[in-house]
Amino acid sequence: MNKRMPHALFALVTAGLLVTACTPATKENKIADPGTAVSGTVELWHFFTEREADAIDSVVKDFQAGHPNIKVTVKSGQDDSKVTQAIGAGNGPDIGLSYSTDIVGKFCASGAWVDLTQYINRDKVDLNQLNATTRSYTEYDGKRCAMPFLADAYGMFYNKDLFAKAGIDGPPKTLDELAEDAKKLTVRNPDGSLKTVGFLPLYDFYENSASHLAPTVGAKWLTDDGKSAVGTDPAWKTLITWQKSLVDWYGYDKLTKFRAGLGDEFSADNAFQKGQVAINIDAEFRLAFLKDQATNLKYGVAPIPTADPARYGGGYVTGNIVGISKNAKNPEAAWELIKYLTTDDAAVIKLSGLLKNIPTTTKAIADPTLNSDADFKTFIDIFTNPNSSTSPPSSSGPAYQDTFAKFLTDFQAGKVKDIDAGLAQADKQINSVMTLGG
């Protein structure tokens, strides 16, 4: 036997033991009795920067004024990857504030964020004051590990000047009307290339993802037993057939060429802001960009058109989420701050006003100041509409949406000849990728 083998084996075994020893372990979380005074330092990590980070600081300052025994340390510009790695390394922040509901499934299932039910029950927090859709995307498998921190509602923006020029009175309300108006609004160059596009239907353009368009047909992502529903829910077929027909009317190549010359979504060169696209799917946050970057643009806002007129009024809803790390050093103070940020009406109204996002509590939603802006009110109405929906949390995050997005981009490019076989294959692939999360 090679004399070096025992040494190598010893090194491997030692390293193996180290690997096992350095992996995270679960920890029991006990909460304080009702009425116990809360004090100490609490660390909040959030993803906001610049103006938006200032807004968070301002509300945190209000919190500290009312809770002099709690000192809050705020770290801005922290994305989900950093939070995940910090929690995994046993050094997570007391509170993490994320922009993505996609992490809820993983963070709840793994226990990376603690179950808040015990705090909610102890402090008798009424969850019914929170919008139903936001309640659904902040829990997973019956475990509430997050609270909603403002929300986004998606609707339709349309260019009033281009509508008037094309002789269209008001925003389309059905998908058929949308296609009809899009064609009327489209202007071609003498060589047949596109000069102005009524509605740019490509799935990978700006906010046109499948999840944002699903409410137009009421499509479901998952079945009750958590399997993919894209192949069995006929609503998806309705949506993608409608979309493909519009893509084919433009010509896929012409659309991709036109799209290639457009500016970045979050720049002043946004195609809707520049009048290159007449109708766009977007959320309430676009209002702030328009006010800042396109002051001369005459636009209107409305709910997204639907296949069935009875579903009109709703849209896609998502939002920021906030939770307590399993290795939080001061979970009681963390909960106190989360409770303030997500259920104190005055704090929620202030945050909504500063960040220009939709408030999530019943009283804040009805706040007259926030509703005084007619455009913003349209998005509040979309947010509260019973036909609004979100994409369900999954323990493998956005994997199911990404997998379907691949099918959709292939389909719109004409690479999928048999739609039923393609959807069945997408179902299979989604079910496979979803097992990654456990």
Partner: protein
């Protein structure tokens, strides 16, 4: 010869070990431990947040039926097959040209080397904007001379060639190595060949290439490894060209744009690990990449030895 006393030998070994200790600790902590961790985690279901669960070969079996993996492997292989040889040929060509210059060689060396100093992310952003159809100056210029420019990073057919173009622009690091190799070829060999009537091509093929073969081998091996790990430029180019560079949420949604043509293997590995929190599968993908890189390197080294007549 008499054996040294035990005490002396122990002292000598201890001294040797103490000198080696910093390097050994570094290797153990930064190489051995991560490597063993990666192997171990590749057999587990692990999300970085909870205790890993042993799943045997499940992660490796999953690879057989992974549509994103297939797409990313196709793109990465394309890059290896096209990008590596093109980069080597271009670097040799450029270094040969520089050796021919009678005046200003230093100036041109500096000019050609400078792009290699630009951070890849910044260079990619600049390239995407320069080549942007409609607003970019390159297509504007092509239009002036009557050419309808391609869609570059916005076309599935042109996106990878555009990345190759970007790589060629930043070829300075490789060019410098080849330049050193070319300048090291003894002048007397060229003079003798010239006397024998060899033309420029014969001199290049029969003298320059065999002499700089070790440099070519080095460039091929490091080029293949670099291309198998191709991440930054593909990620940035896809995101910027899609018009969603500043979108915070979603990792994979704009990776690979357009139509998955820039979706390389490391992008899929990253998405699986940090987008889907499936660190077990991500480690299996990393192990597969390691084995492939090692395999290609061994093959290249053996073929090079066989080619030069040395024993393999």
């Amino acid at each position: 010869m008499t054996a040294k006393p035990l005490g002396v030998r122990v002292r000598q070994n201890a001294t040797t070990l103490s000198f080696l200790a910093p390097a050994l600790i570094g290797i153990a902590v930064f190489f051995l431990y991560p490597l063993v961790s990666a192997v171990y985690f590749s057999f587990t279901k692990f999300d970085l947040l909870s205790v890993p669960k042993w799943v045997g070969l499940d992660n490796y079996k999953r690879m057989a039926d992974d549509p994103f993996l297939l797409q990313s492997v196709r793109n990465t292989l394309w890059m290896v097959v096209v990008f590596v040889p093109v980069r080597i040929v271009a670097a040799i060509g450029l270094s040969m040209l520089l050796t021919q210059l009678k005046r200003g060689a230093g100036f041109f060396r500096t000019i050609f080397y400078l792009p290699a100093l630009v951070p890849p992310v910044a260079a990619t952003i600049a390239f995407v904007y320069l080549l942007k159809p409609g607003t970019g100056p390159v297509n504007h210029f092509l239009e002036k001379i009557g050419i309808d420019g391609p869609l570059w990073f916005n076309s599935p057919a042109w996106a990878k060639p555009s990345l190759v173009l970007l790589g060629l622009w930043a070829i300075g690091d490789l060019m410098i190595i080849f330049l050193a190799g070319v300048l090291g070829v003894p002048e007397s060999l060229y003079e003798a060949a010239e006397l024998d009537g060899a033309n420029a091509w014969h001199r290049f093929w029969s003298i320059t290439v065999p002499t700089i073969r070790p440099v070519i081998l080095f460039a091929a091996v490091t080029g293949v490894i670099y291309t198998l790990q191709y991440f930054d430029q593909a990620a940035v180019a896809g995101s910027i060209a899609s018009g969603q560079a500043t979108v915070g949420g979603g990792i994979a949604s704009n990776f690979g744009y357009p139509e998955g043509s820039t979706f390389t293997y490391p992008l899929w590995l990253y998405t699986v690990g940090f987008g889907y929190h499936a660190l077990g599968y991500a480690n299996a993908l990393a192990m597969a990449l390691f084995v492939v890189a090692l395999g290609i390197t061994v093959i290249l080294l053996r073929r090079a030895k066989a080619f030069s007549g040395e024993e393999s």
